[in-house]
């Protein structure tokens, strides 16, 4: 989560669900919490019972809206306009928390004079390279910063970004943790505060109302409510989910909320914060201990093909002179000791030069394109269902059909395992089983009741689950599968002299096993994650104990402490009624260091006193000379509130006593992000990749840095805005989940009760749209895009509002749950088959929350008629588009020549994966 990471220092929810009860106002946006996180929603209800305002901003009226005190309907894909509008309202009306903003954020910092804002360059920040389709971020920096650290890599074309970014990497040139140039009065025209003011000045209530299709009154009420419930005495919280993230501007949307919460002084305080609501049991965990291409455990970056050739360079580039990232080398070396044991030594640079290198994008959507191109031969899928769950399902199924071999591990036979004989492409004749070369192994998996292990939930909490029963027959845990797979591979290569086998031979791969099936001991793995001191064998108590000389082992530095004192801290189950406070610190274990609200030094004022009695949480105890409170202080325990670091201070020592954001090089929350994001230091409103509208602010219609696959035949795009042909796909479509189902459905369409409760795929449409196209409640509709067409039962409801736009147009929205597929107790078409694979540039996430579609009554064509139907509509749109194309585009605002891939007068971003393709051959 680079948005939260760059803003505050750590990529995780800043608070915990139970603390929502202390909020005076809760804004839920980009989330249908009541239906998708129903049990967590009880804490929102607790707050409401205590008098809190609950605001739900969402394109649909859901059960969350029904339980809120206020619902504001907006256009799907207009979130940054709404949040930017809130920021503007706060700034224009002086409603911000002045002392918090001055002391705890980078508002006073003066920015390089070369920086040019989108407002002055028609939608582009300074540094845009139209050839490369990316930004050079040199001009975004703090004024007077030395070129240092990651900046040194610039010549090699790589900057830290994505999940590993935002961890204070921009610390170069800070002396005693302070930026070189500041204006504490916040008046310098180039200080962050003034830049922010100018950046959002055009986001007036009228602009918001027009862009988001809501009323000025509703919008102002939200702003006033938020402001009235923030400050010394009161706090407001934000809750979001994938309604914010699944956009080509996903990361910047969350950044917008981070800005609002900083201006209102709501981070690090009880009842405040940003609650990221995640949708899988351990999705936070699978980012912390990543199964992601670009990071290693604890957000350490994977070495890159284009830089970091030598260990020293790599360490220097990733070490911040100030803040906790100053200890980068300790985290790195301890991980290498966990991976390679005695084989990793100081003399061989801890095997750095043997490690594999990544390109800028080796994400799942890159891989599927490589499959289609025939470059990927083997694939292992463990507990994921790309044939249903990924955008543009057809591209994924066609990709799988090109593999030499495929392993699918799941509890039921999911669509990603069966695509070769019952997938939609078999039905349409596009794939024939006897022509598919893929060798497939379906391996039945063990369920959570059949194995020990820990999940990291949405609030960074590691909770252990114990095995209840033995898995039956061939069912096995992933722990078993990967452990024994690794063992078998190592056996095969133990006598190899090949250079490529050096690392796998050096891999530490000894774990005790138990029971008849030789299940690895999950606690032994957790112990390695926690780490120990090699000489004494003593378990480490926390990451400050890690050493950079190879004397400590630690598999994930942010999880260090989870096996403190030789006790599985994640398995602590002390009932909440036996604990002293609602914080319940003896239930399980949260990273980092069992802190439940992070950055909680900010719950006290610069002097270390609670901002108010009502909102006391962590404070400085003068008599004890230490920080204390309801939670583990997220600050060095004995660092005085007025501590000023000496000039030569490094790492944590360089963070002043008044700066709560200890992971950041300057100890502050970042309103403005000088480094770590691909698409700008500030969020700005862009239209979705596919939308029926122009950008009301700029000629630059959509995010210029978004990733597109223009040359990929399997991923065609709809014409947009008022381009000819866009009328073939005139509606906004958004996808979502239902309470009774889970993601791609493998864990719920197979469950009789749940199948009965939500038996069929449906679409939500407004009565006006139903009338307009002739849809009947309970009847069938066919929904189509350039990618595919699906059918769904029609639900006519005013829960999805028509959008009344300024230009007099009425644009309809269509809502689609995405849980269905070809298999299970209940079956149906997959909404994701409609979606495209244009991505957010920071995290490579797809835009399934706002794109365009057409809809007509009746069932979709069957067999070979289906692809024909889709192609005919696509051709119809394309021919209108081509007929209208006359002159080449001229630069500037007047350029309006249509292009086949969406966007007029736009910068034309290069296909991201080309670079990777070149370097990987």
């Amino acid at each position: 989560m680079p948005s939260l990471g760059t803003s505050f220092g750590r990529g995780g929810a800043t608070t915990f669900q139970q603390d929502l009860q202390n909020a005076d106002c809760i804004v839920i946006m980009g989330s249908n919490m009541a239906e998708n996180h129903p049990v967590g929603f009880q804490w929102v209800m607790e707050a409401r019972e205590r008098g809190a305002k609950v605001i739900h901003v969402d394109p649909r009226f859901t059960r969350t809206s029904a339980m809120a005190t206020k619902h504001v309907g907006i256009r799907a894909g207009s979130d940054i306009a709404f949040l930017g509008g809130i920021a503007n309202y706060i700034l224009e009306h002086d409603l911000y928390f002045r002392e918090y903003v001055e002391k705890y954020t980078n508002a006073p910092v003066i920015i390089d004079e070369r920086f040019v804002d989108t407002e002055d360059a028609d939608g582009l920040f300074s540094g845009w390279d139209p050839e490369a389709g990316r930004y050079d971020i040199e001009s975004w920096r703090y004024e007077g910063m030395e070129v240092h650290g990651a900046a040194g890599q610039r010549g090699e074309g790589f900057e830290p970004s994505g999940e590993q970014s935002g961890h204070g990497a921009a610390g170069g040139g800070l002396h005693h943790g302070e930026p070189p140039a500041e204006d504490p009065e916040l008046e310098h025209p180039r200080c962050v505060f003034q830049i922010l003011k100018r950046h959002f000045r055009r986001y007036t209530p009228e602009f918001v109302a027009e862009t988001c299709a809501c009323s000025v009154e509703d919008f102002v009420e939200v702003c006033e409510t938020l402001a009235a419930n923030s400050g010394r005495e009161r706090t407001s919280a934000f809750c979001y989910a994938v309604g914010w993230t699944q956009h080509t501007t996903g990361v910047q949307t969350i950044r917008s909320a981070a800005i609002v919460q900083q201006l209102l002084g709501n981070i690090g305080r009880p009842g405040g914060g940003i609650m990221a609501l995640r949708g899988h049991a351990s999705i936070q965990g699978s980012t912390d201990i990543p199964t992601l291409f670009n990071i290693l455990p604890g957000y350490l970056p994977m070495p890159h093909t284009l830089s970091y050739h030598k260990l020293k360079n790599f360490i220097d580039s990733n070490t911040s002179p100030t803040g906790w990232w100053g200890e980068f080398k300790s985290y790195w070396v301890s991980l290498m000791k966990a991976y390679f044991g005695e084989h990793a030594t100081e003399e061989n640079d801890w095997l750095f030069e043997e490690l594999p290198r990544i390109d800028s994008d080796n994400s799942a959507y890159f891989t599927v394109q490589q499959m289609l191109a025939g470059n990927v031969k083997g694939y292992i899928i463990a507990g994921e269902n790309p044939a249903v769950g990924h955008a543009n399902g057809k591209a994924h199924r066609l990709g799988l059909a090109k593999l030499d071999w495929l392993v699918v591990r799941d509890v039921v036979e999911i669509e990603s395992a069966s695509f070769w004989y019952d997938g939609p492409e078999v039905e349409s004749g596009e794939l024939k089983p006897e022509e598919i070369p893929t060798e497939i192994f379906f391996m039945p998996a063990a369920a959570h009741t059949e194995k020990d292990g820990s999940f990291t939930n949405t609030q960074r909490l590691l909770q252990w689950h114990w095995q209840a029963v033995e898995p039956k027959e061939d069912c096995r845990s992933e722990l078993w599968f990967y452990f024994h797979l690794g063992r078998l591979i190592k056996q095969r290569l133990e006598d190899s002299e090949e250079e490529r086998d050096k690392l796998i031979k050096a891999l530490r791969w000894e774990y005790p096993t138990h029971s008849g099936i030789r299940e690895p001991d999950a606690e032994a793995v957790l112990q390695e994650i926690n780490g120990w001191e090699i000489e004494s064998g003593k378990f480490l108590t926390g990451y400050p104990e890690l050493k950079d000389d190879g004397s400590t082992v630690c598999g994930c530095w942010i999880y260090c402490g989870c096996f403190k004192d030789g006790i599985n801290q994640t398995a602590r189950k002390k009932p909440h009624w036996e604990q002293d406070s609602y914080v319940a610190p003896e239930w399980a274990w949260a990273w980092p260091a069992n802190r439940r609200i992070i950055y909680n030094r900010a719950s006290a004022d610069p002097d270390g006193k609670p901002w108010s009695e009502r909102k006391r949480y962590v404070w400085w105890d003068e008599s004890d000379g230490s920080w204390t409170g309801l939670d583990v202080p997220d600050f060095k325990e004995d660092k005085e509130p007025h501590y000023v670091p000496p000039d030569d201070a490094e790492a944590e020592e360089a963070i002043a006593g008044g700066h709560p954001f200890i992971m950041q090089a300057d100890g502050r929350a970042w309103l403005y992000v000088p480094q770590g994001l691909e698409d700008g230091p500030l969020p700005t409103h862009y239209e979705p990749h596919e939308s029926p509208f122009d950008n009301p602010l700029y000629a630059q219609r959509a995010n210029p840095r978004r990733q597109q696959n223009k040359d990929l035949a399997e991923d065609p795009y709809n014409p947009v805005a008022d381009e000819p042909g866009s009328d073939v796909y005139p509606y906004v479509v958004t996808t979502y989940r239902l309470t009774e189902h889970h993601t791609a459905g493998g864990m719920t369409r197979s469950v009789p009760y749940l199948a009965e409760l939500q038996p069929a795929m449906f679409c939500e449409v407004h009565p006006d749209l139903a009338r307009e196209v002739g849809l009947e409640h309970g009847g069938w509709a066919t929904i189509y895009t350039s990618r595919s067409a699906i059918e769904a039962r029609v639900m006519v409801t005013d829960r999805v509002r028509p959008l009344q736009m300024k230009d007099g147009r009425t644009v309809h929205q269509v809502g689609l749950p995405y849980h269905w597929g070809k298999r299970g107790l209940i079956t149906g078409d997959s909404a994701n088959d409609l979606a495209h694979m244009a991505l957010d540039p920071n995290v490579h996430i797809q835009e399934v929350k706002a794109f365009t579609c057409g809809i007509r009554p009746g069932r979709r064509p069957r067999g070979p008629e289906l692809p024909k139907f889709v192609a005919e509509l696509r051709e119809q749109a394309r021919s209108r588009l081509e007929a209208s194309a006359v002159e080449p585009p001229t630069p500037g605002r007047t350029s309006r020549t249509p292009s086949a891939s969406g966007g007029r007068g736009e910068q034309d971003p290069r296909v991201e994966s080309e670079e990777a393709r070149k370097t990987s051959s």
């Binding site: 669900q17 201990i289 290198r357 891989t367 070369p437 192994f441 992933e478």
Partner: protein, 189 residues
């Protein structure tokens, strides 16, 4: 006396006599319902678990008898969920015992038109062989531009957000040592 017995079995009388005026307790039990016991009473042991669906992280209690899960309910001790579960969490016994659950390895040979049987051991050996072979054939020490690569771009691994931390740890550790960099999970979707 038959009559007094009949009178005594009259629910209203029993409700009043047994201090159950609303008729919600013992007074309205029939001989059959008196014999009923909750299935959790028959459990041999109870295991603390966590719901496998979304990331709220509700506590679950899993009741076991004769090596089978007999019931799953909310764990009241959890400070997050306080004993509650949503429809998915409540149905998780049906999830772990789904009629569609697969218990055997299935194998589809290239260009095959049906699943075949395969032993787990053979499948593991074959998968290990495939990885070793594909990796050897597609290994790149350097990129086309001459930069260090130390990897194969011909193998990928997908999944993780539904798995345990310990499992993800082993996946990333093994794949990194094998030079397999295309490791991804649901955080992208």
């Amino acid at each position: 006396m038959a009559l007094s017995k009949l009178l005594e079995s009259w629910p209203v009388l029993r409700q009043l006599r047994e201090g159950d005026p609303l008729g919600l307790g013992k007074a309205v039990q029939s001989p059959r319902s008196q014999m009923l016991v909750p299935r959790i009473d028959e459990a041999e042991h109870v295991v603390h678990s966590i719901c496998p669906y979304c990331a709220v992280g509700c506590g679950q209690l899993v009741y076991v008898r004769d090596g089978e899960v007999t019931h799953i309910e909310g764990d009241p001790a959890s400070p997050i969920s306080r004993g509650r579960l949503c429809p998915k969490g409540q149905a998780s016994k049906s999830y772990v015992q789904s009629p569609l659950r697969e218990y055997k390895v299935k194998y589809r040979r290239p260009y095959g038109t049906r699943w075949e049987e395969l032993s787990l051991d053979d499948a593991m050996d074959m998968i290990a062989d495939r990885i070793v072979e594909t990796r050897a054939k597609t290994w790149r020490k350097k990129t086309g531009g001459g930069a260090p690569a130390n990897r194969t771009m011909a193998i990928g691994n997908l999944g993780g957000a539904t798995l345990d931390n310990e499992e993800n740890y082993l996946i990333k550790k093994l794949m990194t040592a094998l030079g397999i960099v295309q490791v991804e999970n649901q955080a992208r979707i």
